[in-house]
Amino acid sequence: MDTASLTTSLIAALPEVFLACAGIFILMVGVFSGARATHTAMLLSVAALVGALVLVLFGPSRAAFAFNDLFVNDGFGDFMKIVVLGAAALTLIISFGYIRREQLDRFEYPVLLVFAVVGMLMMISANDLISLYVGLELQSLALYVVAAFRRDTLRSSEAGLKYFLLGALSSGMMLYGMSLVYGFTGTTSFTVLADHFAGQAAAGQELWLGALVGLVFVVAGLAFKISAVPFHMWTPDVYEGAPTSVTAFFAAAPKVAAMALVVRVLMGPFGAWVEQWQQIVVFVSIASMLLGALAAIQQTNIKRLMAYSSIGHVGYALVGLAAGTEAGIRGVAIYMAIYVLMTIGTFACILCMRQKERMVEGIDDLKGLSKTHPLMALALAIFMFSMAGIPPMAGFFGKIYVFLPAIEAGLYALAVIGVLTSVVACYYYLRIVKLMYFDEPAEGFDRPVGREVGAVIAGTAVLVLFFFVAPGPLVDGAAAAADAFFAVAG
C-alpha cells in the first residue's frame, strides 16, 4: 500500500481513527489526572463520541472503499454509525450520576466503552470477513470487561463470565463458518464474494454445501451478538447482573451495530442467496418474537424484563430483514433507530429508580409512580405504549415499516405471528402502565433525578410521542441508507 492510498484510507476511516486516538488519549488523561479522573474521562468520552458523530455527518468526503477493500463507506454504514454514536453518547450521559453514586467511578469505564464503539464502527464498515471479525472482537472484549465491571458483586462477575464463555463459543462458531466460506471460495472479501455468488446464482448453480454450512455457522455466531433466540440465553442474566448503566449501553449501541453487521453480511456477500438464509432468519425472528413476548410475562425485575423485551424487538427488526428487499432494509434501519430511542428513554427512567440511596429494580417499585413522579410516569408510559407498538407512538411506525415489506414479500405467516406476539407483549408493557397509574403509590424515588437524566428522558419521550408529526427525516435517511447499500452491493 503506497502513501497516497494509505492517506485516502485513513481519511475514509476518519471517524474511527479519531475515536480510537481519542480513546488512547482519554486513557492517558485518566492515568495521569487525580481524583477527578473519572469525571474528566466521562466528559471527554462524550465529547469524543459527539466529535466522531460530527465527523460522520459533516467531515471531509470519504472514499467508498479503503484499506484494500477491507473497509467500506456507504449510506447504510453512515446511518447506522450515527445511530450507534448517538446511542453511545446518550447512554454515557445518563450514567454520569449512576456511576458516581454506585461507586463505579473508574476512568477505565468510559475508555472501554469508547473502544467498544470503535469496534462497532469497524463492524458496521467491515467489507471483509477478517475486518468483520476484528471489529467484532474489539467490541466484544471491551464489553466482556464492562459486564463484570462491578467485581465486588457476585451477580456482576457471574454475568461477565457467562457472557464471556458464551461469547467465546459464538466467536468460535463464527470463525469456523468463516474458514469454511474462505476454503470454498478462496476469498474473504465481501465484494469478491458477492460477485462470486451472484455469478453462481446467475449460472443456475447451487451454493456449495461447504459455503452453505459456513453460512449457517456465521449466522449462528451473529445471532448470538444480536441476542436472537436460541442464542439469547446470556441476555437476561447479563442485563440483570451488569451495572444498570452498562445494561443501558448493552441494550442500545451494540444491538444496532450487530444488527447492521447481520444486514451487511446477509445482504452483501450472501445477497444472491436470499432464499438460502431467509428460512433461518424467519425461524430466528419467530422464535425471538415468541420468546420475547411469552417469557417476559412472569418477570419481576425490570432489567430482566427489558432483556426479554430487547429479544422481542430484535425479532421484529429481523422481520424486515427476512423480506430481503430494499424496503425491508429500510424498515430494519428505522426500527433500530426507534428502538434505540425507546430503550434509552426507558433505561434513563430505570436509572432513576432509587429509594433511600439504593437502586431498586423490582417492577412493583413503580407502583403509583404517576402520583409521586407524574412526569416520569408519563414518559415511561409513552415508552411502554411505544414498545407495545400502539399508535400513534413511534414504535407502531417501526413495526409498520418492517411488517409491510414482509407482507409484500409474501411472508404472511411471519407477519401474523409477529402481530400475535405483539398482542402478548402488550400484556407486560401495559402492566407497567397499569402499575404506575392504577396502583397505590409505593415509596417514591429519591430526588433529584439529575438534570442530564431528566433532559434525556424528556427529549426521547418527546421524540417518541411526536414522531408521527414529522416522520420524514428519519424515514428519508433510512431509505437513503437502504438505497446506498443496495447500490454498493449491486
Partner: protein, 777 residues
C-alpha cells in the same frame, strides 16, 4: 358503587363546560345533513406519511354522518350525565379527559378516509376503553375486565391491521374513497379470503360476536356512563361500522354472506337467551347489546341487491337497527344508572316500586322499552318490521334468518319488560336505601332519547330520508329507491310482530318457571369464551414460568446445551434439506496403527465423561487432543501435529492449575442419570452432524485456488518447502511480527498484573473486601 359518590361534592365547572364540545360538533354535523342526504361526499385531507402513501383524510358520507351524529348527540347527554354521576369520585378530571378522548377517537374512526389512520383511531378507542373500564381500579374485577377487553379487542385489531395492509396492497391504495370508488376489483383477488378473515377478526372482536362476546358483559364493571356510551351506543358498533363500510368492496360473496349470517345469528340468539338469565340490570342490558350487534352483523350479510334489482331491505334494516338500538339502549343504560345511583342496587330481585319515586326515569324507561320491544309508533317498530322484511327476503333459506330474528326478538320483548317493569312496579321494600328522583342532568338524556325514538317512529319518512337511506346508500353503493313507512298494512311482518310481542309477554308472565329452567340450562354449557380466555391466560403464564425456570434458570450448562442443540439441528437440517448426506463406508481401509489411535481417542473420550474428578477428566481430554495430533502426524502434517500437541499440553497444564484453585466436585450438583443421557444425546447429535458435514463437504470438490497458489509460489517466492512455515515467515511476515508484538505486550501487562498483587495484599483495609475505588485512588 353509588357509595363512592358523595352527594355534597361540587360538580366541577369543566365537567359541565365540556358538554359544549360534543353539542357544538353535533350542530356542525347537523348542518351537513342536507348536502349529504343529497348524495354529496365531503372530504378533507393533509399529507402525512407520503413515503407509505398514507394521508390524513376525512370523509363524510351518509354512513359516517349517521355515526358522527350518534357519537356527538349521545355524547352530549352522556357527558352531562357523567358530570352528575361521577360527582365525588376521585380524579373526575382524568375521567372526563378519557371520555372526551374516546369521543374524539371514535369520531376519527368513523370519519377516516385512510385505512391506517382508521386503524390508529380504532386502537385509540381500545386504549381509552381500557382506561375507562379500569377506572375503578381498586376493584380486582374491574382491572381484570379492563385487561380482558383490551386483549380481545387489541388482538382482533392487530389482525385487522394485517387485513388492511393486504387490502391496501391488493387495491393499490389505502384511501377508502378510492377503494370504494372501484368496488368489485377485490372480490376476485387471490388474497380475498385472507383479507376477509383478518378483517372479520377485528370486526367480530370489537363488536363482541360469538365466540368473542364475553369481554363486553365483563366490561360492565365500568361506571355506567361508560357502559352507556362506549359499550352499547358507540365503540362496540365500530365493528358493525367497519363491516358496513367495506360491504361494497368485500360483500356480496358466498363466504361473506354465509359467515356474517351464521355468526350474527348464533350471537343474536345465544346472547338474548343469556340476557334473560341475568339478574343484574346492567348485565341484562349488556347481553341485549350483544344480541343487537349480532342482528346488525347478520343483516349486513344480506346481498346488496335483492332479486329483480330491488334495493336490499336487509342492509337498510341493519343501518336502521344501528340507529334504533343506539337510541333506546343509551337511554336504558342511563336509567339503569339512575336506579343504581338512587336506589343503591341494580339487582332485579331487590328492585321494585320505583314508579312513584322516580317518575321521570320511569317515563324514559317506558319510552325506551317500547322502542326496544318494537311497539308502534316507536322507531323500534320500524326497525323491527324492516328486520322481518329483510329476513323474509333472504336469498337462500330465509327460514333460518327468520327463525333466528324472531327467537331473538321474542326474548328481547321479555328483556324489555324485565328492565322497564320489574324495577318500577311491585313493592319497594327490599330497596337498600330510600330512593328519590335523580337530578335533571341525569334524566334529561334518557327522556330526550326516548322522545326522539317516538318522533322518529311517527315521522319515519323524514328520519329515513335524512339519515337512514343516505347511510344505507353508502353501504349498498347506490341510492336505494325505497320508502320507509310506519304502517304497511296487514302483512307477514306485522303478523310476526304481533306473535313476538305476545310470546315475549307470555314468557315474562311465566318468568319464574321459564327463566329458572333457562338459567340451569345455561350453567351447564361446557365451554364459554370467558373460561377459554382464562385457560389461555393461565397457559401463557405457565409457559412463561416454565421458560424462566428451565431454560433461563441461570445454569450455564443448560445455556450451552441449547446452543449446541440448535447448532446440531440446524446443520443436520441443512444437510437433509440439501440431500447431501454422505454415509461413510462401513469398514474404511485403515492400518492397525490408525485403528489403534482411533480406539485411543474413543476410550479417552469415554474416560472424560465418566471421570469422578476434574483432574482425571482434563487429563483424559488431553489424551483426546494428543490422539488427534497423532492422526495429523500419521497423515503427513508434522507441523500441525506439533502445534496441536503444544496447545493441548498447555491447555491441560493451565486448566489443571486453575482446577487446583477450585473446590472439588463435592457440594456441586452432580448431573443425574437422566441429565447424562440428555447430554450424551446432544453431544451425539452435534458430533454426528459435524461428521456428516465433513464427509459431505469433502465429497464435493473444494476450491483449489488457495492451495494451488501456495504450492506454486512457496518455493520460488519464499524458498521453502514447508508451506505453513513459508506462509508464516514470508507471505504473512508482517502479521507474524504483529502477533509477536501483541504477545510481548500481553506478557508485559501480565507481568505488571502479577507484580501488582503482593502490594494489594499488604493493604489490610482492602484485603477483605475488594477495592472499590480501584486504580483511580
Amino acid at each position: 358503587m353509588a357509595a363512592a359518590g358523595k352527594a355534597d361534592a361540587r360538580v366541577p365547572t369543566y365537567a359541565r363546560a365540556v358538554v359544549l364540545l360534543p353539542a357544538a360538533l353535533f350542530v356542525w354535523f347537523s348542518t351537513m345533513i342536507p348536502a349529504v342526504s343529497g348524495g354529496a361526499v365531503l372530504t378533507w385531507e393533509i399529507a402525512w406519511l407520503p413515503q407509505l402513501g398514507i394521508a390524513f383524510g376525512f370523509i363524510v358520507d351518509g354512513l359516517s354522518l349517521l355515526f358522527a351524529l350518534l357519537i356527538t348527540g349521545i355524547g352530549t347527554f352522556i357527558l352531562l350525565y357523567a358530570s352528575e354521576y361521577m360527582r365525588g369520585y376521585p380524579q373526575v378530571d382524568r375521567f372526563t379527559l378519557f371520555l372526551v378522548a374516546f369521543m374524539l377517537s371514535m369520531l376519527g374512526l368513523v370519519l377516516s378516509d385512510n385505512l391506517i389512520v382508521l386503524f390508529v383511531f380504532w386502537e385509540l378507542t381500545t386504549i381509552t376503553s381500557f382506561l375507562l373500564i379500569g377506572y375503578t381500579h381498586e376493584d380486582a374485577a374491574a382491572r381484570r375486565s379492563a385487561l380482558q377487553g383490551l386483549f380481545v379487542t387489541a388482538a382482533g385489531g392487530l389482525a385487522m391491521l394485517a387485513g388492511f395492509i393486504l387490502l391496501g396492497q391488493a387495491a393499490g391504495t389505502y384511501s377508502l374513497r378510492e377503494i370504494l370508488a372501484d368496488p368489485g376489483g377485490l372480490v376476485g383477488h387471490p388474497d380475498y379470503l385472507v383479507i376477509l378473515i383478518l378483517i372479520l377478526c377485528g370486526a367480530f372482536t370489537k363488536s363482541a360476536q360469538f365466540p368473542f362476546h364475553f369481554w363486553l358483559p365483563n366490561a360492565m364493571a365500568a361506571p355506567t356512563p361508560v357502559s352507556a356510551y362506549l359499550h352499547s351506543a358507540t365503540m362496540v358498533k365500530a365493528g358493525v361500522f367497519l363491516l358496513a363500510r367495506l360491504t361494497p368492496v368485500l360483500g356480496d360473496t358466498e363466504v361473506w354472506m354465509a359467515t356474517l349470517t351464521i355468526f350474527g345469528a348464533v350471537t343474536t340468539v345465544y346472547a338474548s337467551a343469556i340476557a334473560l338469565t341475568r339478574t343484574d340490570l346492567k348485565q341484562v342490558l349488556a347481553y341485549t347489546t350483544v344480541m343487537a350487534l349480532g342482528a346488525c352483523v347478520m343483516f349486513l350479510g344480506a346481498p346488496t341487491r335483492a332479486e329483480a334489482g330491488e334495493p336490499s331491505i336487509g342492509l337498510i334494516a341493519a343501518v336502521t337497527f344501528v340507529f334504533v338500538h343506539a337510541l333506546y339502549k343509551a337511554a336504558l343504560f342511563m336509567v339503569a344508572g339512575n336506579i343504581d345511583h338512587e336506589a343503591g342496587t341494580r339487582e332485579l330481585p331487590q328492585l321494585g316500586g320505583l314508579r312513584r319515586l322516580m317518575p321521570l326515569s320511569f317515563f324514559a324507561a317506558a319510552l325506551a322499552a317500547f322502542s326496544m320491544a318494537g311497539v308502534p309508533p316507536f322507531v323500534g317498530f320500524v326497525g323491527k318490521e324492516l328486520l322481518y322484511k329483510g329476513a323474509l327476503a333472504w336469498p337462500a333459506e330465509p327460514y333460518v334468518a327468520v327463525a333466528a330474528i324472531v327467537a331473538a326478538k321474542i326474548m328481547m320483548v321479555t328483556a324489555a319488560l324485565l328492565v322497564a317493569v320489574v324495577p318500577f312496579f311491585g313493592s319497594a321494600e327490599k330497596l337498600p336505601k330510600r330512593a328519590h328522583e335523580a337530578p335533571w342532568t341525569m334524566w334529561i338524556g334518557p327522556v330526550v332519547l326516548g322522545v326522539v325514538a317516538l318522533l322518529g317512529g311517527m315521522l319515519p319518512d323524514l328520519t329515513a330520508e335524512m339519515l337512514l337511506l343516505p347511510a344505507a346508500a353508502a353501504v349498498m353503493g347506490y341510492q336505494p329507491d325505497y320508502e320507509v313507512k310506519l304502517w304497511h298494512g296487514v302483512n307477514i311482518p306485522l303478523l310476526l310482530s304481533v306473535f313476538t310481542v305476545v310470546t315475549g309477554a307470555l314468557i315474562f308472565w311465566k318468568r319464574a318457571v321459564l327463566l329458572d329452567a333457562l338459567r340451569s340450562a345455561v350453567q351447564r354449557l361446557p365451554l364459554t369464551g370467558d373460561r377459554a380466555y382464562d385457560a389461555v391466560m393461565t397457559w401463557i403464564a405457565d409457559l412463561a414460568a416454565w421458560q424462566t425456570r428451565w431454560l433461563q434458570g441461570g445454569v450455564q450448562r443448560r445455556y450451552i446445551l441449547v446452543v449446541f442443540v440448535t447448532l446440531g439441528l440446524s446443520v443436520a437440517v441443512t444437510l437433509v434439506a440439501r440431500d447431501a448426506v454422505v454415509l461413510p463406508a462401513a469398514f474404511p481401509e485403515a492400518s492397525f496403527v490408525e485403528w489403534s489411535v482411533a480406539a485411543l481417542i474413543v476410550a479417552a473420550t469415554f474416560v472424560t465423561l465418566i471421570a469422578d474428578s476434574r483432574l482425571l477428566a482434563i487429563c483424559a481430554l488431553g489424551v483426546v487432543g494428543a490422539g488427534v495430533a497423532l492422526i495429523f502426524l500419521l497423515f503427513g502434517a508434522p507441523d500441525v501435529a506439533m502445534t496441536q500437541l503444544l496447545v493441548e499440553t498447555l491447555v491441560v497444564v493451565i486448566v489443571a492449575i486453575v482446577l487446583l484453585k477450585l473446590p472439588d466436585f463435592r457440594g456441586e450438583r452432580r448431573p443425574t442419570a437422566r441429565g447424562r443421557w440428555r447430554d450424551g444425546l446432544v453431544a451425539g447429535l452435534v458430533g454426528v452432524s459435524t461428521t456428516l458435514v465433513l464427509l459431505a463437504v469433502t465429497a464435493e470438490p473444494p476450491q483449489q485456488a488457495i492451495t494451488d497458489y501456495f504450492e506454486e509460489t512457496s518455493m520460488p517466492g519464499g524458498f521453502g518447502r514447508n508451506i505453513v512455515n513459508v506462509i508464516l515467515v514470508d507471505f504473512r511476515a508482517l502479521d507474524t511480527l504483529g502477533e509477536i508484538a501483541v504477545v510481548a505486550v500481553a506478557g508485559v501487562a501480565a507481568y505488571a498484573l502479577i507484580m501488582l498483587r503482593p502490594r494489594r495484599r499488604t493493604r489490610p483495609d482492602t484485603a477483605g473486601r475488594p477495592d472499590r475505588k480501584g486504580a483511580a485512588s
